[in-house]
Amino acid sequence: MATTQPLELSPGLKRERRAQQRRYAFYVALVLMGLVAPFVAYPVFLMKVLCFALFACAFNLLLGYAGLLSFGHAAFLATGGYVTGYLLSSYPALTPEMGILIGTAAAVGLGAIFGMLSIRRQGIYFAMVTLALAQLMFFFFIQAPFTGGEDGLHGVPRGELFGFISLRNNLAMYYFVFAVFLFGFALIQRTVHSPFGQVLKAIRENESRAVSLGYNVDHYKLVAFVISAGLAGLAGSTKTVVFQLASLTDAHWHMSGEVILMTLLGGVGTLFGPVVGAGLVVTLQHLLAQSPLGNWVGPILGVIFVVCVLSFRSGIVGEVLKMYRKNFK
């Protein structure tokens, strides 16, 4: 009778396992932090951070992993927000999760159309096309009958989640937003670490090479664009439910610029970068709004933009990762 030998893992595989275990431990710690956060900080502020973090993560999927700079992501945020806001205001029987679902679906549809149009051009033209398409949506939102024009939609009811959990309570609302964020983040994490994500990175590094390897590059770009647009819409829809309003601010090109800044500041192409960046930008806006510098938010964001591009291109998380790799590996 042969004795059964325990299967030996190769050292490389072992290291890989350990790295993965560390990563999961890190995720668990963050989720725990998210769970206790509303008892430490103001829930409404945290919800704002989470919505923008999801928005920035969605944007980062395109720029960081597919190398596509979209200058029109405000259009998806606003579409999600307006559709959800309109539905929840006009049909009181509709539960908030249904409103959010339909708003997200609208953003996915818009993302499919914009994606098909904009991936016909590359690089800088791609950025200009997305910007122009988003401006088209901005004018549409001003004129459309359901958006409230310049005033926007106010007093959108938060309602009862699944028909029985009242979201009027900020704590309940927070945990719902946190769940939505975790869902979006997990989806992006899966996408990035899947074979699909590998192909996206290949396209980012060398598009013509990916084409010559036989990948249908346009197809991959389009799917990434639609996922990104959908998650941006989800962020917009959730934000509308939290703040009970949808306005033109979300559709303006400043918003498209802000999400770029969040991603750039936190770290393009890192999973947590956009979260950190969103947290910082929202906090900064919050602090500035109360200080005498309240009117200077725009120029200050501009200065951060310039500094980031000139000398801080890896972003905060990118720099931390670099330091970690240099000293601990």
């Binding site: 590359q122 933009f305 310039v306 591009v309």
Partner: protein, 295 residues
């Protein structure tokens, strides 16, 4: 009264003229973008801000230094052009070796700084700049009233466009510029000072935007946000025309202005958006742009 498809001739021609003037601004701005893009390979997001600075230089020059319109026509582009050269030297040069998307992001940051600062100093509501005396009033032609200033804007803008075309296509300096667009490393090897050429090119492109700003000062309210909304339309114009050709930029700019004017006559609700719709059509039918080379 003569009617064209149910619209009085005078109204029709009036809107067409307005469209043509808008088109002249699109042409001037997209021309500057194309010149800068040719050599630096970046899309200058600060172009709208430079146009706005041109208009502000005109307004403030008159208010505080007593500089009249005609002097401003020369001085404002000069000052803004020098300012642009400074920006190129100090900021853009340092990211020249990186992905060109960073150039777009950097100039976007600059646009936020200029626009936001001026909003804080001067507010968002625009100031009026008086039309120069010589150009007040207008001509009563057989079918429409032609304000003198609008006629002048059209002539000046087209003149500068053609001058730029001549400079780039027919002079030695222009030949350097075109060669630098094709292969800067080889130019450098031939002993041409390419970094200087790049600085001058950026300055010139920006000066074109500032010139448009001076022309616009008596037409539109001078406000800090006058440039950014215009710039997005110009981006669409650039996507439609492609940035490969000087004449292409001029022709596309004017045509888009005319189309916008016509839309204002027949379907005013879509006047804001028609250029974006044309852009979508072009992307569907001819993705490289009307005058663009296939990538």
């Amino acid at each position: 009264m003569t009617m064209i498809f149910g619209v009085p001739l005078a109204v029709f021609m009036g809107q067409l003229l307005l469209g043509l003037i808008n088109g002249a601004f699109y042409a001037l701005l997209s021309l500057g973008l194309a010149v800068i893009f040719g050599l630096l390979k970046i899309v200058n997001f600060a172009h709208g801000a430079m146009y706005m600075l041109g208009a502000f230089a005109t307004l403030l020059g008159m208010r505080y230094l007593g500089i009249n319109y005609w002097a401003a026509l020369l001085l404002a582009p000069l000052v803004v052009g020098l300012f642009g050269m400074l920006i190129e030297r100090v900021l853009l040069r340092r990211i020249g070796h990186l992905d060109h998307l960073y150039g777009l992001l950097l100039t976007f940051g600059l646009a936020l700084i200029f626009e936001g600062s001026l909003v804080n100093i001067f507010g968002v509501s625009g100031a009026r700049y008086p039309t120069p005396e010589v150009l007040q009033g207008g001509y009563q032609t057989g079918f429409m009233f032609l304000p003198k200033y609008r006629a002048w804007v059209l002539i000046a803008a087209l003149g500068v466009c053609l001058f730029t075309w001549f400079m780039i296509e027919r002079t030695r300096l222009g030949a350097y510029l075109r060669a630098g667009t094709e292969n800067p490393a080889l130019m450098q090897a031939f002993g041409v000072n390419v970094p200087l050429l790049i600085t001058l090119t950026y300055g010139f492109g920006v000066a074109l935007a500032a010139f448009a700003g001076v022309l616009a000062a008596p037409l539109y309210p001078v406000s800090p946000t006058m440039g950014s909304n215009l710039l997005i339309v110009v981006f669409a114009v650039v996507v439609i025309g492609g940035m490969g050709s000087i004449l292409g930029a001029i022709v596309t700019g004017l045509t888009m202005g005319l189309i916008e004017g016509l839309t204002k006559v027949y379907y005013p609700e879509a006047a804001n958006t028609v250029i974006f719709l044309v852009m979508i059509l072009v992307l569907l039918l001819r993705p490289a742009g009307l005058f663009g080379k296939e990538a």
